[in-house]
Point group: C2
Chain length 213, copies 2
Amino acid sequence: MDIGVIGSGMVGRALTGKLVELGHDVVVGTRDPGKLDEWLGQVGGAARVASNAEAAGHGEIVVNSTAGVGALDALTLAGEENLEGKVLMDVSNPLDFSGEGLPTLFVEDTDSLGERIQRSFPNARVVKTLNTINASVMVNPNLVGDGDHTVFVSGNDADAKARVTELLRSFGWRDVIDLGDISTARGTEMAIQLWLRLMMALGNFNFNFKIVR
Amino acid sequence: MDIGVIGSGMVGRALTGKLVELGHDVVVGTRDPGKLDEWLGQVGGAARVASNAEAAGHGEIVVNSTAGVGALDALTLAGEENLEGKVLMDVSNPLDFSGEGLPTLFVEDTDSLGERIQRSFPNARVVKTLNTINASVMVNPNLVGDGDHTVFVSGNDADAKARVTELLRSFGWRDVIDLGDISTARGTEMAIQLWLRLMMALGNFNFNFKIVR
């Protein structure tokens, strides 16, 4: 499948590597292609680097793996016309790293970054997912607990959620919970505050939530 | 052990029932003892009802199971002198039910209700716990997934956390994660927003988070 990845930080790189490994044709969008040369060499050259607009235009599915604080700007660069009708898989979190200590949320629980993105790009089909999980576990759920844990999807479009769920299953995810419409991203985005305290208490990133029921 | 329970809603009743079953001497604090008569009959009379002050004065451990919005008022009625040096097990959540739809948090992620209680009663030893779990599962973890899921503790006092952990183990909890000081209650309190969406999506209350690591 043709996939565009907007955001080339740790999460974007992990997802790109996995998508290439699965045989997808990936274009990574960035404002500074030069800085990605070394990393692209590691991926094996099967991914291309381009502008955000080219990456978005390329993808049937477009991934938003930007730092949350820059998400709307990066997607504006990607261009509304390039997101029209697309599945926009949003894995970002609304975290503000500018203060001391652990990052804080820049969205309160009466809104979410997922909803802001959906409102800003009403013709994109936003699916919030993977934002409760560390990059290494996102693309390799078997890294912890034999993959017996949970990933969530939130979005207004059932077909878009089905396509994202299929992609997640190809990563190895077995327990995918559909929380409901995009407003349910409020739940997963706020849960990052528990994730951060667990990361501090456990002393590593390799853990995940399982919903036992 | 002598235990005082402040707050006689669903959570306070579930905890009182379990504590009585385990042989503890429980006094439930309320502003309206009459309304508890029928329920007390069901518990078997092994718990007594009294004022918040009497309940707090009675307990070596005092449980705050009030609705979060009334927690500080109820504990003020309980009296600072009755909480002095006590383990104050806070199971409340900072939820505002006054709007339409799902409740919202009345504390942002730069503070928590657990911290507010600790600041208001500096000589109490506040331990936040059980607030991520439904009342029926709190007191009977085996109700879901053979009890193979997680409860969190947050607090500044190691001895208080150890005593609460011992009490949790007597309820059947096997996986107790110490998140750190009372500020880590920010994590568990915000996670209630994910819990609420899960409750809606799953259509019931009997589930819990397990931290797979």
